[in-house]
């Protein structure tokens, strides 16, 4: 089972790849839209990449509630449990 920080680090790589955000900026308390300037289309790509990377399903109704990096990491941890 991956640790919280391992998931955050993998997610940071995805956010960097899709939206060009520096890996070190992708911290748990950061908002995707307000702090990291990730727009709605990039979020679609990030969600899909997370499903592939972490082997989880993230339905649209859950995806829209993932406001911060911490929200996404917590969702992935629960889905993997």
């Amino acid at each position: 089972m991956a640790s919280t920080d391992e998931i955050r680090a993998d997610l940071a790589e995805i956010v960097n790849d899709v939206a060009g955000v520096a890996v070190e900026d992708v911290q748990l308390d950061k908002s995707f839209t307000d702090d990291l300037d990730v727009d709605s289309l990039s979020m679609v790509e990030i969600i899909y990449a997370c499903e592939e990377k972490f082997g989880v399903s993230i339905p649209d109704e859950d995806a829209k509630n993932l406001k911060t990096v911490g929200d996404a990491v917590a969702f992935i941890e629960r889905a993997q449990a």
Partner: protein
């Protein structure tokens, strides 16, 4: 060509061993609508539209520019470049969703306008996949012997189907026509078509039924994020499939011309496909907008005219859109 069968059995047709694109031509609506003008109708900004789509300006038809006039203009250029006269065309296939007349088909009207004689002529409704649907069909017609030279035209006046009060779609669409002539070839020059549909998602992009007496104009409605996800995942896989069935490695590809739906979709497809840096990628949408069935042949013509691509290079083309439908193939550029 026909193959004579034993007595008592039907004679069947047999065509050329291979088919290829003989020529391409395009016509763009002459009215330039930049993002600032677009934002006089919708609450948006030049920066927002550029960031989400890459579109700087789009081309709209004037009152005098109709699907027929634009299709005929594009077809004349394609025939001229193919070195063929109009009466050498055996079949005309028009892909359009903006010919607002159930019958006759636009293809018949184009055949009349060009003076093609008496070719087979029909329209197909496959939205943004229409060009590759048409080329796939034309290739089969040429190889089966049903036709020698086929004119395939994608043409749209999407500005007339655009809801200028819808700030999520209004800035996307444009008007134009692109045409190719498909004819016999001594060498393989059109890869197998990879095509299909997602019938369960027919409401993701649609126009409402156009019922008699309905005062509502059937504008295009689209769930943009669902389309984006589909295009950047499933369609990227289909693009890879086009290369595989054509027996081509990514390193052997020269040009990538995806349907010009959104530069962000193109960016994402490129990440998934991992094409080499050497591949020329069309960004025709930047100054054209999304012209649906016309976008791929228009982009092809532009790359050839600018010298960014040359005749004989291999190009991967793939269309995807309302239906949902998709189609793509590898083509040798004319």
């Amino acid at each position: 060509m026909t193959a004579t069968a034993p007595a008592g059995m039907l004679t069947t047709s047999q065509g050329a061993q291979y088919a290829r694109l003989l020529g391409v031509g395009g016509y763009r609506g002459s009215r330039v609508v930049d993002n600032d003008e677009m934002c006089t109708w919708i609450d948006s900004s030049d920066e927002w539209i550029r960031q989400r789509t890459g579109i700087v300006e789009r081309r709209w038809a004037t009152e005098d520019e109709t699907p027929l006039s634009m299709a005929a203009a594009a077809a004349r250029k394609a025939l001229d470049r193919a070195g063929l006269a109009a009466d050498q065309v055996d079949a005309v296939i028009c892909s359009t969703v903006s010919h607002f007349q159930q019958t006759p088909s636009l293809a018949v009207l184009v055949a009349d306008e060009l003076d093609c004689g008496t070719p087979a002529a029909f329209d197909i409704s496959a939205a943004c996949a229409g060009f590759s649907y048409g080329v796939g069909m034309a290739e089969s017609l040429v190889r089966s012997g049903a036709a020698i030279n086929v004119l395939v035209i994608g043409v749209e006046t999407l500005s007339r189907l655009t809801d200028l009060s819808d700030r999520s779609t209004a800035f996307l669409f444009s008007d134009g026509a692109g045409a190719v002539v498909v004819g016999p070839s001594d060498t393989p020059a059109i890869g197998p078509v990879v095509w299909g549909s997602e019938p369960g998602d027919h409401e993701v992009i649609q126009t409402r039924p156009w019922e008699v007496g309905n005062p509502e104009f059937p504008y295009i409605e689209m769930e943009g994020q669902k389309v984006f996800r589909w295009a950047t995942t499933a369609i990227a896989d289909k693009a890879r499939e086009c290369l595989r069935v054509a027996g081509l490695e990514p390193e052997q590809l020269d040009v990538f011309i995806p349907h010009q739906a959104n530069n962000r979709i193109t960016d994402s497809m490129l990440r998934h496909l991992k094409l080499p840096e050497s591949v020329t990628v069309s960004r025709d949408i930047t100054h054209m907008g999304n012209s649906s069935a016309a976008s791929i042949p228009l982009a092809m013509e532009a790359l050839l005219e600018s010298g960014e691509a040359t005749s004989g290079q291999t190009a991967l083309v793939i269309g995807f859109g309302a239906g949902l439908v998709f189609a793509g193939q590898v083509l040798v550029l004319p």
